[in-house]
């Protein structure tokens, strides 16, 4: 019975380990100071483990799930999003190169302050959606919930 419990524990540890294999790490955004006028940039730092890749924001096929960062509108609004430059990589499973991102990269959002926003602290929520693979297998799409602290000047 003891050995059954031991193997059951091992199996429970092994299953999530596979799921975590290509999980992205997103650095928690620091407080963003938003000036009264103009555009304020926020750089979201993301990293994927070695050997893993995610589809870029412009995958080559409609069936593939793109990298996508979205922010809810509030005191500031996302005016533009600059995704990292994708690289075209050929994998054992792909007939032709596919558009991917890997390693460490940044997604830059340009925020515009809304006309009615009052000065003071606030926050914004966002979502980063991605779908990662390595050269042999793929992992289900993931959504990372984000919170961006704001200071409106």
């Amino acid at each position: 019975m003891k050995s059954l419990r031991f193997f059951a524990s091992l199996a429970l540890l092994a299953a999530p380990a596979l799921a975590q294999q290509c999980a992205a790490t997103v650095t928690e955004p620091v407080k963003l100071r938003v000036a009264r006028k103009g555009v304020t940039e926020q750089r979201l730092k993301v990293s994927l483990p070695a050997g893993c890749h995610a589809n870029s924001n412009t995958p080559i096929e409609a069936f593939l799930i793109p990298l996508k960062l979205t922010w809810t509108a509030g005191a500031v609004e996302a005016a533009a999003t600059d995704y990292p430059k994708a690289s075209m990589e050929k994998y054992e499973f792909s007939e032709k190169p596919i558009s991917v991102v890997s390693g460490q990269f940044e997604i830059v959002t340009k925020f515009k302050r809304s006309a009615t926003a009052q000065p003071g602290p606030g926050s914004l929520t966002g979502k980063l959606r991605y779908q990662a693979c390595n050269d042999k297998m793929c992992f289900p799409p993931k959504t990372v919930e984000l919170r961006l602290p704001l200071l409106l000047e």
Binding site: F7, A8, A11, A15, F93, M137, P140
Partner: protein, 175 residues
């Protein structure tokens, strides 16, 4: 809750113990498979196929089954699907069947156009969480189980393997 956790643990343990498929020697007509008495029963399930018909795994007892968990967004799965179409065509009459279980969150909306485009000739279903859990959670795709005529799991392949690896197992089991 504890019972469910234990079930998942035991299922995952059994699947882990089965390991990934062993690559057979080049040109080997047959492979050394896990002995029958060491094979675990494939958990039964009932799902609906793309034509709205019920599919029960236990109805396939007496056949060799290749049970493939896949998704439309999975590149390695896309490579394997034409192999499975070929296996279904060549071995169906010898008592073989491919069953595809999609893990797409968007269900048939994503799956139907895909299987039509790929001219999939075997039965495809959309997974439920319950079915995925019965098979260890299916955390990576493709995940494929080769099941013998008695409904027991012969091998588990997690990730892309060679077409020949599958075919050697199928041919050996059909003998």
């Amino acid at each position: 809750m504890k019972t469910n956790l234990l079930r998942v643990a035991v299922a995952a343990m059994a699947l882990t113990a089965l390991g990934c498929g062993q690559a057979p020697a080049e040109n080997a007509p047959a492979v050394s498979l896990k002995p029958g008495e060491k094979r675990n029963p494939a958990p039964d399930f009932e799902l609906t196929d793309s034509n709205g018909r019920k599919v029960k795994l236990s109805d396939y007892k007496g056949k060799v089954v290749l049970l493939n968990f896949w998704a439309t967004w999975c590149g390695p799965c896309k490579l394997e699907i034409p192999w499975f179409v070929d296996f279904e065509k060549r071995y169906k009459d010898q008592g073989f069947a491919v069953l595809g279980v999609s893990m797409d969150e968007d269900g048939w909306e994503a799956v139907k156009p895909y299987i039509e485009a790929k001219q999939v000739n075997y039965r495809v279903m959309v997974a439920t969480e319950e079915v995925a859990q019965k098979y260890g959670g299916v955390e990576a795709l493709p995940t494929t189980f080769v099941i013998d005529r008695e409904g027991r799991i012969v091998s588990t392949h997690i990730g892309l393997v060679m077409k020949k690896d599958y075919e050697d197992e199928i041919v050996t089991l059909l003998r």
